[in-house]
Protein backbone atom coordinates (compact mmCIF):
# COMPACT_ATOMS: atom_id res chain seq x y z
CA UNK A 1 0.00 0.00 0.00
CA UNK A 2 1.33 3.43 -0.98
CA UNK A 3 1.55 6.37 1.37
CA UNK A 4 -1.45 8.68 0.97
CA UNK A 5 0.65 11.82 1.31
CA UNK A 6 3.67 11.30 -0.93
CA UNK A 7 2.32 8.43 -3.01
CA UNK A 8 5.88 7.17 -3.18
CA UNK A 9 6.88 5.10 -0.17
CA UNK A 10 5.14 2.11 1.34
CA UNK A 11 2.61 3.09 3.96
CA UNK A 12 3.77 1.65 7.26
CA UNK A 13 1.70 3.67 9.69
CA UNK A 14 -1.99 3.01 9.75
CA UNK A 15 -4.17 5.41 11.60
CA UNK A 16 -7.79 4.99 12.54
CA UNK A 17 -9.83 7.81 13.86
CA UNK A 18 -13.38 7.61 15.01
CA UNK A 19 -15.17 10.94 15.18
CA UNK A 20 -18.96 11.22 15.51
CA UNK A 21 -19.28 7.55 14.76
CA UNK A 22 -17.48 7.91 11.43
CA UNK A 23 -14.37 5.83 11.03
CA UNK A 24 -11.60 7.27 8.87
CA UNK A 25 -8.43 5.49 8.00
CA UNK A 26 -5.13 6.97 6.95
CA UNK A 27 -2.13 5.13 5.60
CA UNK A 28 1.15 7.02 5.50
CA UNK A 29 4.88 6.40 5.44
CA UNK A 30 7.32 7.08 8.24
CA UNK A 31 8.97 10.02 6.49
CA UNK A 32 5.70 11.84 5.91
CA UNK A 33 4.63 11.21 9.48
CA UNK A 34 7.84 12.78 10.77
CA UNK A 35 7.47 15.64 8.34
CA UNK A 36 3.84 16.37 9.07
CA UNK A 37 4.43 15.93 12.78
CA UNK A 38 1.40 13.73 12.83
CA UNK A 39 0.41 12.80 16.33
CA UNK A 40 -0.64 9.26 15.92
CA UNK A 41 -3.80 8.82 17.93
CA UNK A 42 -4.64 5.19 17.71
CA UNK A 43 -2.12 2.87 16.25
CA UNK A 44 -4.11 -0.25 15.45
CA UNK A 45 -3.14 -2.41 18.40
CA UNK A 46 -4.46 -5.81 17.47
CA UNK A 47 -1.71 -7.91 16.05
CA UNK A 48 -2.30 -9.82 12.88
CA UNK A 49 -2.19 -13.22 14.49
CA UNK A 50 -4.80 -12.31 17.04
CA UNK A 51 -7.17 -10.69 14.59
CA UNK A 52 -6.99 -13.84 12.48
CA UNK A 53 -7.81 -15.90 15.52
CA UNK A 54 -10.67 -13.66 16.50
CA UNK A 55 -12.04 -13.75 12.98
CA UNK A 56 -12.34 -17.53 12.99
CA UNK A 57 -14.04 -17.68 16.37
CA UNK A 58 -17.31 -19.22 15.14
CA UNK A 59 -20.64 -20.37 16.43
CA UNK A 60 -19.01 -23.38 18.04
CA UNK A 61 -17.50 -21.27 20.77
CA UNK A 62 -20.54 -19.13 21.07
CA UNK A 63 -22.42 -22.26 22.08
CA UNK A 64 -19.94 -23.64 24.57
CA UNK A 65 -19.07 -20.27 26.01
CA UNK A 66 -22.50 -18.74 25.65
CA UNK A 67 -22.66 -17.89 29.32
CA UNK A 68 -19.41 -15.95 28.94
CA UNK A 69 -20.64 -13.93 25.98
CA UNK A 70 -22.91 -11.75 28.05
CA UNK A 71 -20.68 -11.74 31.12
CA UNK A 72 -18.82 -8.75 32.54
CA UNK A 73 -15.68 -9.41 34.59
CA UNK A 74 -16.49 -8.79 38.29
CA UNK A 75 -12.97 -7.36 38.80
CA UNK A 76 -12.77 -4.89 35.92
CA UNK A 77 -16.08 -4.87 34.04
CA UNK A 78 -14.50 -6.21 30.88
CA UNK A 79 -16.60 -8.07 28.29
CA UNK A 80 -15.72 -10.38 25.41
CA UNK A 81 -17.20 -7.86 22.97
CA UNK A 82 -14.53 -5.41 24.13
CA UNK A 83 -11.85 -8.04 23.73
CA UNK A 84 -12.91 -8.65 20.14
CA UNK A 85 -12.65 -4.93 19.48
CA UNK A 86 -9.41 -4.15 21.32
CA UNK A 87 -7.48 -7.43 21.26
CA UNK A 88 -6.30 -7.05 24.84
CA UNK A 89 -7.83 -8.18 28.12
CA UNK A 90 -8.97 -6.01 31.02
CA UNK A 91 -7.34 -7.64 34.02
CA UNK A 92 -5.43 -10.78 35.03
CA UNK A 93 -8.70 -12.24 36.35
CA UNK A 94 -10.13 -12.34 32.82
CA UNK A 95 -8.14 -15.47 32.09
CA UNK A 96 -10.36 -17.28 34.57
CA UNK A 97 -13.61 -15.39 33.96
CA UNK A 98 -13.54 -16.02 30.19
CA UNK A 99 -11.62 -19.27 30.34
CA UNK A 100 -13.84 -21.26 27.97
CA UNK A 101 -13.64 -18.76 25.15
CA UNK A 102 -9.99 -17.87 25.67
CA UNK A 103 -8.80 -21.44 25.91
CA UNK A 104 -9.37 -22.29 22.26
CA UNK A 105 -7.71 -19.05 21.25
CA UNK A 106 -4.74 -19.71 23.52
CA UNK A 107 -4.42 -23.20 22.13
CA UNK A 108 -4.30 -21.90 18.55
CA UNK A 109 -1.82 -19.16 19.37
CA UNK A 110 0.60 -21.46 21.21
CA UNK A 111 0.92 -24.57 19.05
CA UNK A 112 -1.77 -26.41 20.95
CA UNK A 113 -0.22 -25.84 24.39
CA UNK A 114 -2.42 -24.72 27.27
CA UNK A 115 -0.20 -24.89 30.36
CA UNK A 116 2.80 -22.86 31.44
CA UNK A 117 6.25 -24.35 31.36
CA UNK A 118 9.31 -22.37 32.39
CA UNK A 119 10.18 -19.65 34.88
CA UNK A 120 8.17 -19.40 38.08
CA UNK A 121 8.34 -16.34 40.36
CA UNK A 122 10.62 -16.97 43.34
CA UNK A 123 7.84 -15.95 45.66
CA UNK A 124 5.34 -18.48 44.35
CA UNK A 125 4.19 -20.61 47.26
CA UNK A 126 5.44 -24.17 47.15
CA UNK A 127 2.07 -25.86 46.60
CA UNK A 128 1.40 -23.65 43.57
CA UNK A 129 4.76 -24.70 42.13
CA UNK A 130 3.80 -28.33 42.61
CA UNK A 131 0.50 -27.70 40.94
CA UNK A 132 2.27 -26.31 37.93
CA UNK A 133 4.75 -29.09 37.77
CA UNK A 134 1.81 -31.43 37.57
CA UNK A 135 0.18 -29.42 34.83
CA UNK A 136 3.41 -29.55 32.86
CA UNK A 137 3.85 -33.26 33.35
CA UNK A 138 0.30 -33.87 32.18
CA UNK A 139 0.90 -31.77 29.11
CA UNK A 140 4.07 -33.69 28.31
CA UNK A 141 2.17 -36.91 28.86
CA UNK A 142 -0.50 -35.87 26.33
CA UNK A 143 2.22 -35.09 23.81
CA UNK A 144 3.97 -38.39 24.45
CA UNK A 145 0.76 -40.36 23.99
CA UNK A 146 -0.03 -38.45 20.83
CA UNK A 147 3.37 -39.16 19.33
CA UNK A 148 3.02 -42.79 20.47
CA UNK A 149 6.13 -42.61 22.63
CA UNK A 150 4.79 -45.09 25.19
CA UNK A 151 8.06 -45.54 26.99
CA UNK A 152 8.21 -41.82 27.77
CA UNK A 153 4.50 -41.82 28.62
CA UNK A 154 5.01 -44.56 31.21
CA UNK A 155 7.87 -42.63 32.80
CA UNK A 156 5.75 -39.47 32.92
CA UNK A 157 2.84 -41.37 34.52
CA UNK A 158 5.18 -42.55 37.26
CA UNK A 159 6.45 -39.02 37.79
CA UNK A 160 2.90 -37.70 38.02
CA UNK A 161 1.96 -40.35 40.60
CA UNK A 162 5.07 -39.56 42.59
CA UNK A 163 4.36 -35.86 42.45
CA UNK A 164 0.74 -36.32 43.52
CA UNK A 165 1.82 -38.44 46.48
CA UNK A 166 4.26 -35.76 47.63
CA UNK A 167 1.48 -33.21 47.61
CA UNK A 168 -0.63 -35.05 50.14
Amino acid sequence: MRCQICNKNDATIHLTEIADGVRTEMHICEQCAVEQDIAVKSHIPINELLSNLLAVQPSDDELSGSSEQSLACPHCGFTLAQFRKEGVLGCPGDYEVFEKTLLSLIEKAHDGKTAHCGKIPLKTPRDAKKQMELLNLRQQLDAAVQSEDYELAAKLRDKIKQSEKEQH
Partner: protein
Protein backbone atom coordinates in the same frame (compact mmCIF):
# COMPACT_ATOMS: atom_id res chain seq x y z
CA UNK B 1 21.85 12.42 29.58
CA UNK B 2 20.18 13.80 26.46
CA UNK B 3 19.21 11.97 23.28
CA UNK B 4 21.79 14.01 21.38
CA UNK B 5 24.45 12.34 23.54
CA UNK B 6 23.73 9.04 21.80
CA UNK B 7 22.45 10.18 18.40
CA UNK B 8 25.89 10.68 16.81
CA UNK B 9 26.86 7.06 16.97
CA UNK B 10 25.37 3.61 16.69
CA UNK B 11 24.51 1.57 19.75
CA UNK B 12 27.08 -1.02 20.75
CA UNK B 13 24.87 -3.96 19.75
CA UNK B 14 24.74 -2.60 16.20
CA UNK B 15 28.47 -2.10 15.63
CA UNK B 16 29.05 -5.28 13.66
CA UNK B 17 30.86 -7.09 16.47
CA UNK B 18 29.81 -10.30 18.20
CA UNK B 19 29.66 -13.93 17.08
CA UNK B 20 28.41 -14.59 13.53
CA UNK B 21 27.74 -10.88 13.08
CA UNK B 22 28.18 -11.03 9.31
CA UNK B 23 24.68 -12.55 9.22
CA UNK B 24 23.25 -12.24 12.74
CA UNK B 25 23.66 -8.53 13.46
CA UNK B 26 22.13 -8.56 16.92
CA UNK B 27 20.15 -10.61 19.43
CA UNK B 28 17.35 -9.38 21.61
CA UNK B 29 15.16 -10.85 24.34
CA UNK B 30 12.08 -9.15 25.70
CA UNK B 31 9.96 -10.14 28.71
CA UNK B 32 6.37 -8.98 29.26
CA UNK B 33 5.24 -8.55 32.87
CA UNK B 34 2.26 -7.07 34.70
CA UNK B 35 1.89 -6.07 38.33
CA UNK B 36 -0.34 -8.27 40.46
CA UNK B 37 -3.28 -6.42 41.93
CA UNK B 38 -3.69 -3.97 39.05
CA UNK B 39 -5.92 -4.08 35.99
CA UNK B 40 -4.30 -4.30 32.58
CA UNK B 41 -3.67 -0.97 30.92
CA UNK B 42 -6.78 -0.97 28.72
CA UNK B 43 -8.92 -0.64 31.88
CA UNK B 44 -6.63 1.73 33.80
CA UNK B 45 -7.42 5.40 34.27
CA UNK B 46 -4.60 7.90 33.64
CA UNK B 47 -4.27 8.19 37.41
CA UNK B 48 -3.74 4.45 37.78
CA UNK B 49 -1.31 4.47 34.87
CA UNK B 50 0.69 7.24 36.55
CA UNK B 51 0.80 5.22 39.75
CA UNK B 52 2.14 2.17 37.89
CA UNK B 53 4.59 4.34 35.97
CA UNK B 54 6.00 5.99 39.11
CA UNK B 55 6.33 2.70 40.91
CA UNK B 56 8.08 0.86 38.07
CA UNK B 57 10.24 3.81 37.04
CA UNK B 58 11.67 4.08 40.58
CA UNK B 59 12.49 0.36 40.59
CA UNK B 60 14.04 0.42 37.10
CA UNK B 61 16.15 3.46 37.91
CA UNK B 62 17.56 1.75 41.00
CA UNK B 63 18.54 -1.56 39.37
CA UNK B 64 22.17 -2.57 39.54
CA UNK B 65 22.90 -2.98 35.83
CA UNK B 66 26.55 -2.05 35.77
CA UNK B 67 25.65 1.02 33.73
CA UNK B 68 23.95 4.37 34.30
CA UNK B 69 20.34 4.63 33.21
CA UNK B 70 18.19 7.53 32.05
CA UNK B 71 14.46 8.04 31.73
CA UNK B 72 12.42 9.42 28.83
CA UNK B 73 8.79 10.39 29.38
CA UNK B 74 7.36 9.10 26.12
CA UNK B 75 3.97 10.84 26.39
CA UNK B 76 5.71 14.23 26.70
CA UNK B 77 8.36 13.59 24.06
CA UNK B 78 8.27 15.54 20.76
CA UNK B 79 7.28 13.40 17.76
CA UNK B 80 10.78 13.52 16.34
CA UNK B 81 12.26 12.10 19.55
CA UNK B 82 9.71 9.30 19.50
CA UNK B 83 10.74 8.34 15.97
CA UNK B 84 14.36 8.54 17.02
CA UNK B 85 13.81 6.04 19.84
CA UNK B 86 11.93 3.73 17.46
CA UNK B 87 14.72 3.94 14.85
CA UNK B 88 17.22 2.91 17.52
CA UNK B 89 15.02 0.01 18.60
CA UNK B 90 14.84 1.40 22.13
CA UNK B 91 11.04 1.54 22.14
CA UNK B 92 8.35 -0.06 19.99
CA UNK B 93 6.14 1.84 17.59
CA UNK B 94 3.23 0.86 19.79
CA UNK B 95 4.89 2.56 22.76
CA UNK B 96 5.81 5.68 20.78
CA UNK B 97 2.27 6.29 19.61
CA UNK B 98 0.22 4.82 22.44
CA UNK B 99 -1.91 6.77 24.87
CA UNK B 100 -1.57 8.04 28.43
CA UNK B 101 1.29 8.23 30.94
CA UNK B 102 4.16 6.05 29.76
CA UNK B 103 7.93 6.07 29.59
CA UNK B 104 11.13 4.20 29.03
CA UNK B 105 14.21 3.61 31.17
CA UNK B 106 17.33 3.18 29.03
CA UNK B 107 20.82 2.04 29.99
CA UNK B 108 23.34 4.53 28.60
CA UNK B 109 25.08 1.80 26.62
CA UNK B 110 21.63 0.84 25.27
CA UNK B 111 21.89 -2.89 26.01
CA UNK B 112 18.84 -2.62 28.29
CA UNK B 113 15.54 -0.79 28.08
CA UNK B 114 12.38 -1.01 30.16
CA UNK B 115 9.18 0.19 28.51
CA UNK B 116 6.62 1.09 31.14
CA UNK B 117 2.93 1.10 30.19
CA UNK B 118 3.37 -0.21 26.68
CA UNK B 119 0.82 -3.00 26.04
CA UNK B 120 1.79 -4.53 29.38
CA UNK B 121 2.79 -2.69 32.54
CA UNK B 122 6.41 -3.62 31.97
CA UNK B 123 8.39 -4.84 29.01
CA UNK B 124 12.11 -5.20 29.60
CA UNK B 125 14.56 -6.02 26.86
CA UNK B 126 18.24 -6.89 26.60
CA UNK B 127 20.16 -6.46 23.33
CA UNK B 128 23.59 -7.74 22.33
CA UNK B 129 25.74 -7.66 19.22
CA UNK B 130 25.88 -10.76 17.04
CA UNK B 131 24.43 -14.13 17.97
CA UNK B 132 24.34 -14.01 21.78
CA UNK B 133 20.89 -15.30 22.56
CA UNK B 134 21.76 -17.34 25.64
CA UNK B 135 23.81 -14.44 26.99
CA UNK B 136 20.77 -12.18 26.57
CA UNK B 137 18.63 -14.83 28.30
CA UNK B 138 20.99 -15.09 31.24
CA UNK B 139 21.18 -11.34 31.74
CA UNK B 140 17.47 -10.64 31.39
CA UNK B 141 16.66 -13.47 33.78
CA UNK B 142 18.95 -11.90 36.37
CA UNK B 143 17.35 -8.49 35.87
CA UNK B 144 13.87 -10.01 36.10
CA UNK B 145 14.87 -11.66 39.41
CA UNK B 146 16.06 -8.30 40.77
CA UNK B 147 12.75 -6.65 39.83
CA UNK B 148 10.76 -9.51 41.25
CA UNK B 149 12.31 -8.97 44.66
CA UNK B 150 10.56 -5.60 44.75
CA UNK B 151 7.16 -6.31 43.16
CA UNK B 152 4.66 -9.11 42.66
CA UNK B 153 3.90 -10.00 39.07
CA UNK B 154 0.52 -11.29 37.88
CA UNK B 155 1.08 -15.02 37.59
CA UNK B 156 -1.13 -18.06 37.41
CA UNK B 157 0.03 -21.63 38.02
CA UNK B 158 -1.75 -22.71 34.88
CA UNK B 159 -1.03 -19.90 32.41
CA UNK B 160 2.23 -18.51 33.80
CA UNK B 161 2.92 -14.76 33.59
CA UNK B 162 -0.38 -13.11 32.69
CA UNK B 163 -0.23 -10.61 29.85
CA UNK B 164 -2.74 -8.18 28.38
CA UNK B 165 -2.81 -10.12 25.12
CA UNK B 166 -3.21 -13.91 25.35
CA UNK B 167 -0.64 -14.31 22.54
CA UNK B 168 2.14 -13.38 25.01
CA UNK B 169 0.97 -15.35 28.04
CA UNK B 170 3.18 -17.97 29.72
CA UNK B 171 6.83 -17.04 29.72
CA UNK B 172 6.08 -13.65 28.16
CA UNK B 173 9.34 -14.07 26.29
CA UNK B 174 10.07 -12.83 22.79
CA UNK B 175 13.43 -13.89 21.37
CA UNK B 176 14.43 -11.96 18.24
CA UNK B 177 17.45 -11.90 15.98
CA UNK B 178 18.27 -9.26 13.40
CA UNK B 179 19.48 -10.95 10.23
CA UNK B 180 21.21 -9.59 7.15
CA UNK B 181 20.21 -11.77 4.19
CA UNK B 182 21.23 -9.96 0.99
CA UNK B 183 22.40 -13.03 -0.94
CA UNK B 184 19.11 -14.87 -0.40
CA UNK B 185 17.39 -11.80 -1.79
CA UNK B 186 19.68 -11.39 -4.83
CA UNK B 187 19.39 -15.08 -5.70
CA UNK B 188 15.60 -14.84 -5.32
CA UNK B 189 15.37 -17.34 -2.49
CA UNK B 190 14.10 -15.02 0.22
CA UNK B 191 10.60 -16.50 -0.15
CA UNK B 192 12.05 -19.83 0.97
CA UNK B 193 13.21 -18.16 4.18
CA UNK B 194 9.76 -16.64 4.74
CA UNK B 195 8.10 -20.02 4.22
CA UNK B 196 10.55 -21.83 6.49
CA UNK B 197 9.91 -19.25 9.22
CA UNK B 198 6.17 -19.72 8.82
CA UNK B 199 6.49 -23.50 9.12
CA UNK B 200 8.46 -23.06 12.34
CA UNK B 201 5.79 -20.69 13.72
CA UNK B 202 8.23 -17.78 13.73
CA UNK B 203 7.38 -14.19 12.84
CA UNK B 204 9.42 -12.27 10.24
CA UNK B 205 9.47 -8.51 9.97
CA UNK B 206 11.47 -6.25 7.66
CA UNK B 207 13.63 -3.74 9.52
CA UNK B 208 14.53 -0.14 8.71
CA UNK B 209 12.09 0.65 5.99
CA UNK B 210 9.40 -1.60 7.35
CA UNK B 211 7.45 -2.11 4.11
CA UNK B 212 6.47 -5.53 2.89
CA UNK B 213 10.00 -5.84 1.63
CA UNK B 214 12.98 -4.82 3.71
CA UNK B 215 14.98 -2.39 1.61
CA UNK B 216 17.97 -3.01 3.85
CA UNK B 217 17.78 -6.83 3.57
CA UNK B 218 17.57 -6.77 7.36
CA UNK B 219 14.95 -9.02 8.90
CA UNK B 220 13.84 -9.62 12.43
CA UNK B 221 12.94 -13.20 13.24
CA UNK B 222 11.01 -13.91 16.48
CA UNK B 223 9.22 -16.73 18.26
CA UNK B 224 5.44 -16.50 18.46
CA UNK B 225 4.40 -19.20 20.92
CA UNK B 226 5.12 -18.30 24.55
CA UNK B 227 3.05 -20.87 26.43
CA UNK B 228 3.97 -24.46 27.17
CA UNK B 229 7.58 -24.13 26.11
CA UNK B 230 10.28 -22.99 28.53
CA UNK B 231 12.59 -20.03 28.04
CA UNK B 232 15.60 -22.29 27.73
CA UNK B 233 13.89 -24.50 25.13
CA UNK B 234 13.05 -21.47 23.01
CA UNK B 235 16.62 -20.16 23.31
CA UNK B 236 18.26 -23.45 22.46
CA UNK B 237 15.93 -23.98 19.50
CA UNK B 238 17.15 -20.67 18.10
CA UNK B 239 20.81 -21.39 18.81
CA UNK B 240 20.96 -25.04 17.83
CA UNK B 241 18.48 -25.28 14.97
CA UNK B 242 17.10 -22.07 13.56
CA UNK B 243 20.19 -19.82 13.40
CA UNK B 244 22.63 -22.44 12.03
CA UNK B 245 20.11 -23.32 9.32
CA UNK B 246 19.64 -19.72 8.21
CA UNK B 247 23.39 -19.08 8.23
CA UNK B 248 23.87 -22.13 6.06
CA UNK B 249 21.17 -20.91 3.62
CA UNK B 250 22.65 -17.44 3.34
CA UNK B 251 26.23 -18.69 3.05
CA UNK B 252 25.21 -21.15 0.32
CA UNK B 253 23.61 -18.26 -1.56
CA UNK B 254 26.80 -16.19 -1.11
CA UNK B 255 28.96 -19.03 -2.42
CA UNK B 256 26.62 -19.47 -5.35
CA UNK B 257 26.87 -15.76 -6.17
CA UNK B 258 30.64 -15.94 -6.07
CA UNK B 259 31.10 -19.08 -8.14
CA UNK B 260 28.17 -18.91 -10.56
CA UNK B 261 26.96 -15.32 -10.68
CA UNK B 262 29.96 -13.13 -9.98
CA UNK B 263 28.82 -10.67 -12.67
CA UNK B 264 25.58 -10.17 -10.79
CA UNK B 265 27.46 -9.71 -7.53
CA UNK B 266 29.94 -7.25 -9.02
CA UNK B 267 27.17 -5.34 -10.74
CA UNK B 268 25.29 -4.89 -7.43
CA UNK B 269 28.41 -3.77 -5.58
CA UNK B 270 29.64 -1.46 -8.35
CA UNK B 271 26.26 0.23 -8.78
CA UNK B 272 25.96 0.71 -5.05
CA UNK B 273 29.43 2.28 -4.88
CA UNK B 274 28.83 4.53 -7.88
CA UNK B 275 25.53 5.86 -6.57
CA UNK B 276 26.54 6.24 -2.94
CA UNK B 277 29.79 8.03 -3.88
CA UNK B 278 28.16 10.41 -6.32
CA UNK B 279 24.47 10.97 -5.60
CA UNK B 280 23.41 14.37 -4.29
CA UNK B 281 19.90 13.36 -3.28
CA UNK B 282 19.20 9.96 -1.84
CA UNK B 283 16.09 8.63 -0.10
CA UNK B 284 16.28 6.53 3.02
CA UNK B 285 14.98 3.48 1.16
CA UNK B 286 17.55 3.79 -1.61
CA UNK B 287 20.41 4.33 0.83
CA UNK B 288 19.44 1.22 2.81
CA UNK B 289 19.17 -0.83 -0.38
CA UNK B 290 22.61 0.23 -1.64
CA UNK B 291 24.42 0.09 1.72
CA UNK B 292 23.22 -3.49 2.09
CA UNK B 293 25.22 -4.45 -1.02
CA UNK B 294 28.38 -2.78 0.29
CA UNK B 295 27.94 -4.69 3.51
CA UNK B 296 27.63 -7.92 1.57
CA UNK B 297 30.83 -7.24 -0.39
CA UNK B 298 32.92 -6.48 2.68
CA UNK B 299 31.59 -9.47 4.60
CA UNK B 300 32.21 -11.79 1.66
CA UNK B 301 35.82 -10.66 1.62
CA UNK B 302 36.29 -10.93 5.38
CA UNK B 303 34.55 -14.26 5.89
CA UNK B 304 34.98 -16.09 2.59
CA UNK B 305 38.10 -14.46 1.24
CA UNK B 306 36.13 -13.38 -1.81
CA UNK B 307 38.08 -11.25 -4.23
CA UNK B 308 36.35 -9.98 -7.36
CA UNK B 309 37.17 -6.75 -9.23
CA UNK B 310 34.29 -4.91 -7.52
CA UNK B 311 35.16 -6.24 -4.06
CA UNK B 312 38.78 -5.11 -4.54
CA UNK B 313 37.62 -1.61 -5.50
CA UNK B 314 35.30 -1.59 -2.51
CA UNK B 315 38.14 -2.56 -0.19
CA UNK B 316 40.24 0.31 -1.51
CA UNK B 317 37.56 2.72 -0.29
CA UNK B 318 38.09 4.38 3.01
CA UNK B 319 35.55 4.92 5.70
CA UNK B 320 35.76 7.24 8.64
CA UNK B 321 36.56 5.10 11.63
CA UNK B 322 36.17 6.11 15.25
CA UNK B 323 38.82 8.76 14.86
CA UNK B 324 37.84 11.10 12.01
CA UNK B 325 41.46 12.20 11.52
CA UNK B 326 42.60 8.70 10.84
CA UNK B 327 40.94 7.14 7.82
CA UNK B 328 40.83 3.36 7.92
CA UNK B 329 39.69 0.75 5.40
CA UNK B 330 35.94 0.68 4.98
CA UNK B 331 34.59 -1.40 7.85
CA UNK B 332 31.31 -3.06 8.70
CA UNK B 333 31.02 -0.66 11.64
CA UNK B 334 31.13 2.28 9.22
CA UNK B 335 28.43 0.75 7.02
CA UNK B 336 26.25 0.03 10.04
CA UNK B 337 26.79 3.58 11.24
CA UNK B 338 25.61 4.90 7.87
CA UNK B 339 22.59 2.57 8.04
CA UNK B 340 21.45 4.11 11.29
CA UNK B 341 22.65 7.70 11.19
CA UNK B 342 20.97 8.39 7.85
CA UNK B 343 17.50 7.32 9.04
CA UNK B 344 15.05 10.26 8.96
CA UNK B 345 14.80 11.01 12.68
CA UNK B 346 18.54 10.50 13.29
CA UNK B 347 19.36 12.96 10.51
CA UNK B 348 17.09 15.60 11.96
CA UNK B 349 18.09 15.13 15.60
CA UNK B 350 21.75 15.43 14.63
CA UNK B 351 21.04 18.42 12.39
CA UNK B 352 19.33 20.11 15.31
CA UNK B 353 15.98 20.84 13.70
CA UNK B 354 13.34 19.34 11.40
CA UNK B 355 14.13 19.10 7.69
CA UNK B 356 11.78 18.52 4.76
CA UNK B 357 12.33 15.43 2.67
CA UNK B 358 14.43 17.11 -0.07
CA UNK B 359 16.79 18.60 2.50
CA UNK B 360 16.99 15.26 4.28
CA UNK B 361 17.85 13.51 1.02
CA UNK B 362 20.59 16.06 0.36
CA UNK B 363 22.05 15.80 3.85
CA UNK B 364 21.92 12.00 3.72
CA UNK B 365 23.74 11.93 0.37
CA UNK B 366 26.37 14.32 1.70
CA UNK B 367 27.05 12.26 4.84
CA UNK B 368 27.43 9.06 2.79
CA UNK B 369 29.61 10.71 0.11
CA UNK B 370 31.98 12.11 2.67
CA UNK B 371 32.22 8.81 4.55
CA UNK B 372 33.02 6.89 1.36
CA UNK B 373 35.32 9.36 -0.34
CA UNK B 374 37.87 9.97 2.34
CA UNK B 375 41.41 9.75 1.11
CA UNK B 376 43.48 7.01 2.62
CA UNK B 377 46.49 8.85 4.12
CA UNK B 378 48.68 5.80 3.52
CA UNK B 379 48.19 6.16 -0.22
CA UNK B 380 48.76 9.88 -0.66
Amino acid sequence: MKLTDISNDINEWFDGSGPMADIVISSRIRLARNLAGYKFLSRCSDKEKSEILDKLRDIMMSLDLGDKVFYVSVNDAPTLNKYFLVERHLISRHHAFGKGPRGVVIAEREFFTAMINEEDHLRIQVLKAGCQISQCAEQINRIDDMIEKKVDFAFSPRYGYLTACPTNVGTGIRVSVMLHLPALKITEQIEKFFNAAKDLNLAVRGLFGEGTEAASDLYQLSNQATLGVSESDIVSRFEKTIIPEIIEYENAARSHLLSKQSDVLDDKISRAMALLQNAHLISSQEALFLLSHLRLGINMHQHMGASTPAIERLRALCGSGDDPDKASPLSIATINRLFMLTLPAHLQINYGKPLDSTHRDALRAQIIRSALNQQDPRKS
